[in-house]
């Protein structure tokens, strides 16, 4: 039996690993559900014991992977507050923002047995919620693109500018235009609370999409 504490060096890593894995699945799924890319490039896979869609476009996959790779150090240090998948229309105005709001509870410790199955359950619920989110969202205009934003806590941005996790894949400060959304409506999708992680997913949707 192993138990982990926050004091453990790898605690943050464990959380970050779990979370980034989840985010990867979620981003692919969002792209599929929101029809950003043609459904032909998606393949059905199984993750968290539920079917998910994953793109098989290598460049897209690489982009997502690189992005998350850069997000990971932030999550490890509990510096990422939100990870946002922004869906933008042709004019690069966001129409939808899938916000993963992450907070790591100040709880002292976890034990691995309860952790894994429980967290997986919660993540599965979240994935399922994403896969049906089109029911509560309006259709997007054609020709949308997406980007990933990270809201950091405090001064983490400064470090991010200094340290590039992946060469030639730097973080840049997001445009106000990308962040700000007029008359947004908020649609909460799912909240999960576990020992290691508290995360909620909600969608901000522009009232008028077209």
């Amino acid at each position: 039996m192993t138990t982990l504490t926050r004091q453990d060096l790898n605690f943050g890593q464990v959380v970050a690993d779990i979370l980034c894995e989840f985010l990867e699945v979620a981003i692919h799924l969002i792209l599929y559900v929101r029809e950003i890319y043609p459904s032909g490039i998606f393949q059905k896979r199984k993750k968290y014991n539920v079917p998910v869609q994953m793109s098989c476009h290598p460049e897209l996959n690489q982009y997502i992977q690189d992005t998350l790779h850069c997000v990971k150090p932030l999550i490890e240090k509990n510096e990422a507050e939100k990870v946002v998948v922004v869906i933008m229309d042709k004019e690069h105005h966001p129409v939808e923002r899938f916000v993963f709001e992450i907070s790591q509870p100040p709880l002292l410790s976890i034990s691995s047995e309860t952790l894994l199955s429980h967290v997986e359950q919660l993540l599965r619920a979240m994935i399922l919620k994403i896969s049906v989110c089109d029911a509560v969202l309006d259709n997007n205009p054609p020709g949308c693109t997406f980007t990933v934003l990270v809201h950091t806590r405090e001064a983490a941005t400064r470090n991010m500018e200094k340290v590039q996790v992946i060469k030639d894949f730097p973080w840049i400060v997001a445009d106000e235009q990308e962040v700000h959304m007029e008359e947004a409506k908020l649609i909460p999708l799912k909240t999960m609370t576990s020992d290691i992680l508290k995360m909620q997913l909600y969608v901000e949707e522009r009232t008028l999409k077209t």
Binding site: S103, S109, A184, P188, T191
Partner: protein, 1271 residues
């Protein structure tokens, strides 16, 4: 196989094969006792014979007849009985059942059922044991013709009785040519026995027919040899048997098992063998006593406690199937055998045995050990060994006792002081005596004492305490070099294999040198003891291998002159001082003497600081002024007193501060007194070695030496800045002051504890992680016990681990000691202080895992809890008040204080809520209201136990504070009449009282039931009368632990209850009311914190739950809101308004703050309230979405027009959800409300929803920059 091979094997195993002189001595002593007792027994019994001459049995585990009976029988019939198994001497092992590992160990031994003895006695001669053997072995042995007959017999026996054909008969008997005489005799008997024995009985017992021919011969040989050989196997068994469940749980058998055996008190031993004591008369008890004394003796010095090792360590090897001790045994046998003519065959045999032992197939018999347990200790068999072991160790360990004595005496002093406080002045007999003395002598010149009020501290220290206590009834030893130690022999023992004392010695020497070299190392050891100039390496020298490692706990001054020092190993001391006499430990006497010393001191003054069991500080400043005597007179009187009462001499040092007093004591010793006058201080201190300063330990003095400082005078030359640079700011300053004789530490009779810890670094040998974990849990429980004992909780938990230094020998020179170790420590800071052993255990285990150690290398484990605070926070803010009981406080302080300390207030969350609930009544509470409840019988409450009978008036003042009683007009008189007399009286009394104070009483009657509401059911009324305002809090007083909110008591359900139950509930509610009354009395500070009107919080109760909305702000109190809220509700619903807090709204409010130590309350764990740093948002206590939904539905469907407060509640809840980042739930709640409210026929509800939604949207907008999409 060569001897070396065996040795290697032994040390490879795990090094536990060794044994010291202690066991050998013990065994020989036991034997002597046996011999001595035998004739007496024979005389007593009248019948005796010699049928067992030459037979030495060892009883393993449960037998019928019992081991003691067998011992008696052996005495009577000329045999020997071994308490410890010795392979070379024990001829037969008696057992009825053996676990697998034992079988493996004992393979090749004669393991015989006890019937052999009884039958032999019946038959009047020694029967062949072959019949009675417990298990047969597989052996391939050379088999001679000598016992052909026996063999054949056996053959036939086996054929008929044994189903398993895998035991070739030729293997069963293997006599030795050189022992034909004995053997043939045996065999003949066996043949005879074979005919008569009941074969079928044996089907379950395989036969062990190994005739260990060497036994008898070796026995004789051994007689002359020093008895340091093979001992231990038997010991294992014993130990195992003593430990309940020991063999069930392998985890236990390591490391911390030993305490049970090692530190058994005599009582325990008696308890274990009560019937035998009766049966067998004095010799038995005598034996037990000696045995147990043997076991305790060592435990007082560190050396001593360690020498329990034998029993202890062996346990650790008992459970694993491999028995390294066995190999040792074999090894020991070998040289003997080779010296025996014609033993080559034997040798071969022995090898065979071992081999066979290793690959024999055995079945586990776990219950056998259980049997053994129950037989050996009927008194304890039911006890769960696992949890109790550590605490048992600590409760039995004398060493531990001594170390805790200081606390005990501190508490004794505290008790004295508080007694004086309460009694208003104690009788100081000693002081009186001195006064008289002075009066008598006042004519003389003696009393020329100048009445200068100068502080004077007396340091009273017994002269070599252990020794003087040890020899106080042995005048022959006075004036001789005497040492208190566990060792009594010549001071030499055989070296255990696996140990490498030389290496350790070298290591310590190196380390010593290193200390001298390390000049800049800032990490200093601050040893509190000023006596650190002793031989640092324990007097070890290179031939230490053969010397006893028993440490000297204390030695007389005569011995000290010869160079013997405390803590030295006895062997070394004996070399230095050949005349050295050793005296055993006598803990009872130590305690007696120490106590009488403290009593003596306390007869002079109560300003005593207990330093240890034999050392105390007295602040005599006031005493001297009062008496007008000189310090010297006082010291003389005290010393005479002590000498007279204890028979031991004490030295007294006097000085103007603690430091000087202690230094003066050094000069005063032995048996003297010295007053260090302030004018002499400078000269005196200049010549003192630095090491005599407190806090200057070995490392610091070596560091100082490197600075060229050896005396305090030298130290004075150094500037403070230099000192601070070298030693750090605090230590530097302390040194600077100390070397000038400055010390401003006060004599503290009550010391604040900085940490609570439990540590064991003796005989820690884990093999598996689980063992370490369960050890940690047990250690945590011990820490919990100590924390509870001290009434403290701590936040920081530190795990200290000693790990064998890489390269250090596997086995330290000291038996079971920790050897050369690296120390590691890790700590964790908890969010909240705790004293829960479980919590500490989990944290400790986490820390342990984080350290990633090899459990096998662990040699010591300690748990420490720091950052302590009183577990019962003390309202006056005095910090932890240790050793002070609530009783003291009640007695000592003004009654006004007592409610503050009321433990009933600690009813968990009650405090904030009830305080608020009562807040408006509190102000008007008539202080002189009738003692409404004090006369009541209170079944199941803790108050009776808590309040000391001496303080009934406190009880009264506490209890009568406020019992809310509705006005007479609102009470159904039939109900009143139905009430028990006492309650009715109480109610009537309140009325009367209210009439007397009409202005305030109106306040008291919180929202009375309006006349329009239907009359309440009688039973309900009963409660309502008593407790209109009961927040749903668990009631910790009494039998009913969890009471639902009173208003949730369904009247129907209640009415359906049996009458007794109703009464019980009533009284429970009443007590709760009382509890809250207490809370109220003290809650002025707390009450303003909760001003939110809340939805009623449904408590988790036994009774039917009901979710109802109600609320009332204090301003709005009164019948009207309810009426509006609950039109047409059932009576239960119209109970008075509630104001309940959300748990969320208790910022920084510690429930512990309002609780106090009391017999009942301290037992109540408060873990529930403790570890909830961020409570989930709740709506009227509901937290699950389904509950919220039910609540909302009821709200919307039962009420036509929502109250504003309720709406605000919902808004608040939603806001909290947003803050809690639980948008999903918020979304669901909002959508549900939307559906509910917009469907409602009343447009108010729709408006209400809009209002809620608007508010929520604002919050969401503020938080997220966008609004919820509500479709």
């Amino acid at each position: 196989m060569s001897r070396d091979g065996w040795r290697k094997k032994a040390s490879e195993d795990d090094g536990w094969g060794g044994r010291g002189g202690y066991m050998a001595a013990k065994i020989s002593k036991l034997e002597e006792q046996f011999q001595k007792d035998a004739p007496r027994e024979k005389q007593k019994d009248g019948t005796s014979s010699c049928i067992f001459s030459g037979v030495a049995i060892y009883v393993n585990g449960y037998t019928d007849p019992s081991a003691d009976e067998l011992r008696r029988l052996m005495m009577l019939h000329g045999g020997q009985f071994h308490v410890y198994y010795t392979r070379s001497k024990t001829t037969h092992i008696i057992a009825t059942n053996l676990p697998n590992s034992k079988i493996q160990e004992l393979k090749g031994e004669k393991v015989v059922r006890p019937e052999w003895i009884t039958d032999s006695i019946k038959a009047g001669r020694q029967l062949s044991y072959v019949q009675y053997q417990l298990y047969a072995k597989q052996k391939s042995l050379n088999f001679t013709s000598v016992c052909a007959q026996g063999k054949q017999d056996l053959l036939s026996t086996n054929d008929t009785s044994k189903p398993s054909p895998n035991h070739p008969q030729s293997d069963n008997i293997k006599p030795q040519p050189s022992h034909t005489q004995t053997l043939s005799k045996e065999v003949l008997r066996s043949t005879h026995a074979n005919h008569t024995a009941n074969f079928t009985e044996r089907t379950n017992h395989q036969l062990d027919v190994r005739l260990n021919g060497s036994c008898s011969i070796i026995f004789e040989e051994d007689a002359e040899r020093p008895r340091v050989n093979g001992i231990h196997d038997g010991d294992d068994d014993n130990a195992c048997a003593l430990l309940p469940g020991g063999s069930q749980d392998a985890l236990l058998t390591n490391g911390y098992v030993h305490p049970v055996n090692g530190a058994l008190k005599p009582q325990d031993s008696f308890a274990e063998h009560p019937p035998h004591v009766v049966d067998t008369g004095s010799h038995q008890s005598h034996l037990l006593q000696t045995e147990s004394r043997d076991r305790e003796e060592p435990s007082c010095s560190s050396a001593g406690s360690k020498s329990n090792s034998h029993q202890r360590s062996l346990i650790s090897t008992a459970s694993p199937a491999k028995q390294p001790g066995l190999h040792n045994m074999q090894k020991d046998l070998h040289p003997k055998l080779t010296s025996n003519p014609g033993t080559s065959a034997q040798k071969g045999n022995l090898h065979d045995h071992t081999r066979v032992r290793l690959n024999g197939s055995y079945h586990m018999t776990p219950n056998s050990s259980n049997l053994a347990d129950s037989s050996n200790q009927p008194g304890r068999s039911g006890q769960g060994a696992e949890a109790g072991i550590i605490s048992e160790f600590f409760s039995h360990s004398r060493l531990h006792h001594i170390s805790t004595w200081r606390n005990e005496f501190s508490e004794y002093v505290n008790a004295l002081q508080s007694r004086r406080r309460t009694a208003g002045g104690a009788v100081f007999s000693g002081k009186e005596k001195l006064k008289k003395l002075k009066a008598n002598c006042s004519s003389g010149s003696l009393m020329a004492a100048p009445q200068v009020r100068q502080s004077c501290i007396l340091h009273v220290d017994m002269d070599c305490f252990f020794v003087s206590v040890g020899i106080r009834h042995r005048p022959d030893l006075i004036g001789k070099p005497v040492a208190v130690t566990s060792n009594r022999g010549p001071g030499r023992v055989a070296q255990r294999p696996g140990a490498n004392p030389q290496l350790e010695f070298q290591y310590y020497q190196r380390k010593q040198k290193q200390y001298r070299k390390e000049k800049t190392d800032g990490d200093l050891e601050m040893t509190p003891s000023p006596q650190c100039d002793e031989v640092p390496h324990n007097g070890v020298d290179l031939d230490l291998a053969a010397l006893s490692m028993a440490e000297i706990a204390s030695c007389s001054y005569e011995a000290r002159q010869a160079g013997v020092r405390n803590g030295m190993f006895f062997g070394r001391a004996k070399q230095l001082c050949p005349d050295l006499q050793s005296v055993p430990y006598d803990f009872q006497a130590y305690k007696e003497v120490a106590l009488s010393m403290y009593e003596t001191l306390a007869s002079y003054t109560h300003n005593i600081e207990a330093l240890s069991c034999d050392e105390a500080l007295l602040d005599a400043t006031n005493l001297l002024v009062e008496l007008g005597v000189t310090p010297d007179d006082l010291a003389r009187a005290i010393r005479e007193d002590i000498k007279e009462k204890t028979g031991c001499s004490a030295s007294v040092g006097m000085g103007s501060n603690i430091l000087l007093a202690r230094m003066a004591t050094r000069k005063a010793k032995p048996n003297g007194q010295y007053f260090l006058r302030s004018e002499e201080v400078d000269d005196f201190i200049r010549d003192q070695p630095v090491s005599s300063l407190p806090g200057v330990g070995r490392s610091m003095s070596s560091k100082l030496t490197s600075l060229g400082v050896s005396t305090c005078g030298d130290l004075q030359q150094l500037s403070i800045s230099r000192l601070q640079r070298e030693f750090g700011p605090r230590t530097g300053q302390t040194l600077f002051r100390f070397c000038r004789g400055l010390d401003d530490r006060p004599v503290r009779s009550e010391k604040e504890r900085k940490s609570v810890s439990a540590e064991m670094n003796y005989n820690i040998r884990f093999t598996q992680v689980e063992e370490a974990e369960s050890f940690l849990s047990n250690l945590s429980m011990e820490v919990q016990k100590r924390l509870e004992g001290a009434g403290l909780r701590g936040r920081r938990i530190t795990l200290k681990v000693m790990v064998r230094k890489p390269g250090a020998p596997l086995e330290p020179a000291k038996y079971g000691g920790h050897g050369i170790c690296d120390n590691f420590a890790r700590s964790v800071l908890l969010a909240q202080p705790t004293d829960s052993g479980q919590l500490i255990a989990t944290e400790a285990i986490k820390l342990f895992h984080a350290m990633k150690l090899d459990v096998k290398d662990m040699r010591g484990v300690g748990l420490q809890v720091q950052q302590l605070e009183g577990s019962h926070a003390d309202p006056s803010g005095q910090g932890p008040s240790r050793g002070r009981s609530i009783k003291d406080l009640l007695l000592a302080k003004q009654p006004a204080h007592s409610p503050k300390k009321d433990p009933l207030a600690q009813d968990g969350l009650t405090s904030p809520s009830s305080s608020r609930a009562f807040s408006n009544q509190e102000r008007v509470t008539p202080p002189s209201s009738p003692p409404s409840t004090s006369s009541d019988p209170m079944p199941g409450t803790s108050k009776g136990g808590f309040y000391h009978p001496h303080t009934p008036n406190h009880v009264r003042t506490c209890l009568n504070v406020s019992i809310e009683v509705p006005s007479p007009s609102q009470v159904d008189h039939s109900v009143l009449e139905a009430l028990p007399v006492d309650i009715r009286k109480q109610v009537e009394q309140s009325w009367r009282h209210r009439e007397e104070q009409p202005s305030t009483s109106s306040h008291l009657s919180t929202p009375p039931r309006t006349s329009s509401s239907p009359p309440p059911g009688p039973s309900l009324g009963t409660i309502v009368l008593q407790f209109p305002n009961q927040p749903g809090q668990p009631c910790t007083t009494g039998i009913i632990l969890e009471l639902p909110d009173f208003s949730q008591v369904d009247p129907d359900v209640f009415a359906a209850l049996p009458r007794e139950l109703q009464e019980e509930l009533c009284s429970a509610y009443r007590n709760k009311g009382n509890a809250q009354a207490h809370v109220q009395a003290q809650s002025s500070a707390v009450e303003q914190k909760n001003t939110f009107p809340q939805l009623k919080q449904p408590a988790v109760g036994k009774l039917k739950r009901r979710y109802k909305k109600r609320n009332a702000s204090p301003a709005k109190k009164g019948p009207s809101p309810q009426k509006k809220l609950f039109p047409g509700n059932s009576p239960a619903k119209s109970s008075p308004s509630k104001m309940l807090p959300l748990p969320l709204k208790q910022p920084g409010l510690k429930t512990e703050n309002v609780q106090c130590p009391s017999s009942s309350s301290t037992d109540v764990p408060e873990t529930l309230s403790k570890f909830n740093p961020r409570p989930v948002p709740t709506l009227a206590g509901a937290y699950e979405f389904s509950d919220i939904r039910t609540l909302l539905r009821e709200w919307v469907t039962t009420i036509s027009e929502p109250m504003e407060e309720d709406i605000l509640q919902v808004v608040k809840y939603c806001t909290e959800l947003v803050e809690d980042k639980d948008l999903e739930k918020l979304y669901l709640v909002i959508k549900y409300m939307k559906r509910l409210m917009q469907q409602s026929s009343e447009s108010v509800w729709s408006m209400a929803f809009d209002f809620i939604l608007d508010n929520v949207q604002v919050v969401v907008q503020q938080t997220y920059g966008s609004t919820l999409k509500i479709t």
